[in-house]
Symmetry: C2
Subunit: 211 residues, 2 copies
């Protein structure tokens, strides 16, 4: 069974794609153009009623929300490919904790930067420089806490690569490359080493430029 | 081993407490006063570096982020108390999906309403009426999608009560009681029946007024 993944060009979807590659699961991608409003088409809303990417179809099974999808595949194929959940329930607890930190602390400011810096003109509005400055400060504070954590363990949830690290890949890649803010990573020694490690994984190199 | 739970008065912490009661796990609570800034105290930051509630201590194990903690206990005590994760990996996938929907779609507007309506004066600022109106509209749209979902299954993830329903309890309770916006629930037939069901569970009645 090949998993069908909608919206491969977008950051949230790339979270799913890199997980599938780590787990050795075959997939095919279906482009969805948010700028053209394809996510508001009735056929798409029948799959994902909130009109967001990604959504996957795996035979009869449909699932949306990127962090739900990666948990599903990491658990379903626990013994195949890279173990992304930790070996014990306590390790998994820490994976969940750091996935939540990514979702609620790291993601909001980096997502705002992405929209304001990369998508404002495509979406027909003028970037808000104050909001950019404020978001960069917020993201910097979260990165300071990542730095402290990564001074104690190689990866966010412990000494193993997990869903928590993987979840940070897509938007941090945009920050480093398209947004020209690599200095935010390089100013922090342990974040910098962690970024070099996770961003050069074969899974990410395979997925990062998929459209 | 009694689980120590910090910040019982707050909505996010009540997500954890109601989970512990459903699972039949003993706990004790440690008050944290956010208005007095107790979450910025070095002792607290040593447990939860982001300065948020809740955090739990279970022997040597410390864990934060409410939705990580509830996943941890639901999995660790899978066969004790109420099963909150579904019977199959596919059911668990849907639980994860709807927990994510609560976190990313339902929670942001209901949290804004909570802060603006209930906490503005305590926190020393004037409530923003436009933001309240806008947040209520956003929440209403999410509730419309809950209504559609709940017309097809008794609970969010399927025909079983799960972490996905439980996660909605604390802030919806405040919306209905302290914020006086019960009409948002009553305008929607299936949401209304679902709310009557989940908000009268013995676990919630035990936890909702804990301080």
């Amino acid at each position: 069974m090949v998993v069908k993944v909608y919206g491969p060009a977008y950051g949230s979807t790339k979270r799913v794609l890199v997980c599938l590659v780590e787990k050795g699961i075959d997939f095919e991608t279906v482009p969805v153009d948010l700028i053209k409003g394809e996510h508001k088409h009735p056929d798409y809303l029948a799959l994902q009623p909130f009109g967001a990417v990604p959504v996957i179809q795996d035979g009869d099974y449909t699932l949306y929300e990127s962090r739900a999808i990666i948990r599903y595949y990491a658990e379903k194929y626990k013994d195949q490919g890279t173990d992304l959940l930790g070996k014990t329930i306590e390790e998994r607890g820490l994976v969940e904790q750091w996935v939540e930190v990514e979702a609620h602390n790291y993601h909001p400011p980096i997502y705002t930067l992405t929209i304001q810096i990369l998508f404002a003109s495509k979406m027909g509005f003028t970037a808000d420089e104050n909001l950019i400055k404020e978001s960069e400060e917020k993201l910097g504070k979260v990165m300071d806490l990542y730095e402290e954590r990564l001074s104690k363990s190689k990866y966010l949830a412990g000494d193993f690569f997990s869903l928590a690290d993987l979840s940070n890949l897509p938007f941090t890649q945009r920050l480093v490359s398209e947004m020209g803010k690599e200095y935010m990573i390089r100013q922090r020694k342990h974040v910098s080493a962690w970024w070099d490690d996770i961003s050069t994984r074969p899974s990410w190199l395979k997925v990062k430029d998929l459209l």
